[in-house]
């Protein structure tokens, strides 16, 4: 077969039919629904840890899956879908955080008092705990961006240092050194605010 014949045959032999198209669309929808049911919770928690607002975090999750929908043709090429999705949502929430104004600590206190588990605690204890958590988060916000990001992602027990490195696009040794620095800085900040 000559080259031109081969090209012509390839041109003509691309399979297409309405049935195939419908089936493919349905398969894509099912794959996407499976991704949502499997990872929506994880993505929400990642988003909430940065944005600290339930509705904003939910919007970020929604936007993440919309991006996945746009790139559904490349889903098969993704090696680790969980890390890939966390990376997408991480970039989205960082972008939103950058654009949003600085969140006051009082907002965090009220929001945390609402969402944190409060089983067997009195109202005073809940308020005190919320205040403490908000204070810790305010100290986290004062960390340099690189250290802060690593520290926040390290709080997710399901993420290993290799996966954190993959999400942030750095090496594993960088993750470890940044985390060490972040903990030292955090200890200093907390010590300073206590005195």
């Amino acid at each position: 077969m000559s080259t031109s014949q081969a090209i012509y045959a390839g041109w003509m032999e691309i399979p297409f039919s309405a049935v195939n198209d419908k089936a493919r669309t349905q398969a894509e929808e099912e794959t996407l629904a499976a991704l949502v049911s499997q990872y929506a919770g994880t993505l929400y928690r990642v988003a909430f840890s940065v944005l600290r607002n339930p509705s904003d975090a939910e919007d970020a999750v929604q936007e993440t899956f919309l991006r996945v929908l746009r790139h559904r043709d490349t889903l098969d090429e993704v090696r680790d879908q969980r890390v890939w999705l966390i990376r997408i949502v991480w970039n989205i929430v960082l972008d939103r955080k950058r654009r949003a104004k600085t969140r006051p600590e009082t907002d965090d206190v009220s929001e945390l008092a609402r969402v944190l588990p409060a089983k067997g605690l009195s109202a005073e204890q809940i308020a005190s705990a919320a205040q403490h958590h908000a204070h810790v988060l305010a100290c986290v916000d004062r960390l340099p961006a690189k250290e802060r990001q690593v520290l926040m992602l390290s709080a997710f027990e399901e993420l290993t240092s290799v996966e954190i490195a993959s999400v942030l696009g750095i090496t594993e040794s960088s993750v470890r050194s940044r985390l060490f620095r972040a903990r030292n800085l955090m200890a200093g900040l907390l010590q300073h605010t206590r005195t």
């Binding site: 041109w11 003509m12 691309i14 297409f16 309405a18 198209d21 669309t25 929808e29 996407l32 629904a33 949502v36 049911s37 929506a40 919770g41 929400y44 928690r45 990642v46 909430f48 840890s49 600290r52 339930p54 939910e58 999750v61 929604q62 899956f65 919309l66 929908l69 746009r70 945390l112 969402v115 944190l116 403490h132 958590h133 810790v136 988060l137 100290c139 986290v140 520290l151 926040m152 390290s154 709080a155 997710f156 027990e157 290993t160 240092s161 993750v175 470890r176 050194s177 985390l179 060490f180 903990r183 030292n184 955090m186 200890a187 907390l190 010590q191 206590r194």
Partner: protein, 172 residues
């Protein structure tokens, strides 16, 4: 040097330092709100149906044979139309024999002619400048002001001629 990843804060002896990480862990472990998946799925479904996600409709995808044929026909028509447009608008150039050159009108006084832009100098057929009879050049003597001396003292042959004129009547 090893940096522990999940080992807690350094110098954790101070109260409150360890609880900082527990705060982060607490927030990281917050459960997702109920019905999150359904809302996300519903949102995706709506976006897909309303076409807010930029994508070609299935009918207009390039997978379809007729769409590919139409695209190929459009490309061919553009190429052919462009070629025809160029062919129709560009006139063939005339041959060298047919080109009529304007006659060159040589101006008798020279100058720039309007057609040939050729200048004819007027040194050959113009007026002849008559050179006035000038005195012969004196050789330049070193250290002397020639112009001043020639103006004060007449030339020697003039002196002799004047002497001859004066002697001649007396001899007669």
């Amino acid at each position: 040097m090893k940096y522990p990843v999940q080992d807690g804060f350094p110098n954790d002896s101070g109260s409150g330092l360890g609880s900082a990480e527990s705060t982060l862990r607490l927030i990281a472990a917050l459960p997702a709100p109920a019905g999150l998946e359904e809302r996300v799925n519903a949102g995706l479904h709506v976006r897909q149906r309303t076409g807010r996600v930029l994508a070609w409709p299935a009918v207009l995808r390039f997978d379809s044979a007729w769409m590919r044929t139409a695209a190929a026909a459009a490309i061919v028509s553009v190429v052919v139309g462009g070629g025809w447009g160029i062919y129709a608008h560009v006139q063939p150039s005339q041959s060298a024999k047919g080109v009529a050159a304007p006659p060159h009108v040589a101006s008798p006084v020279g100058g720039f002619s309007s057609a040939g832009a050729m200048r004819t100098p007027n040194t050959l057929n113009g007026q002849v400048v008559a050179l006035p009879a000038t005195a012969q050049k004196q050789p330049v003597k070193a250290g002397g002001n020639i112009t001043a001396r020639t103006a004060q003292t007449p030339p020697r042959h003039n002196k002799l001629a004047a002497a001859d004129k004066a002697v001649a009547p007396a001899a007669k």
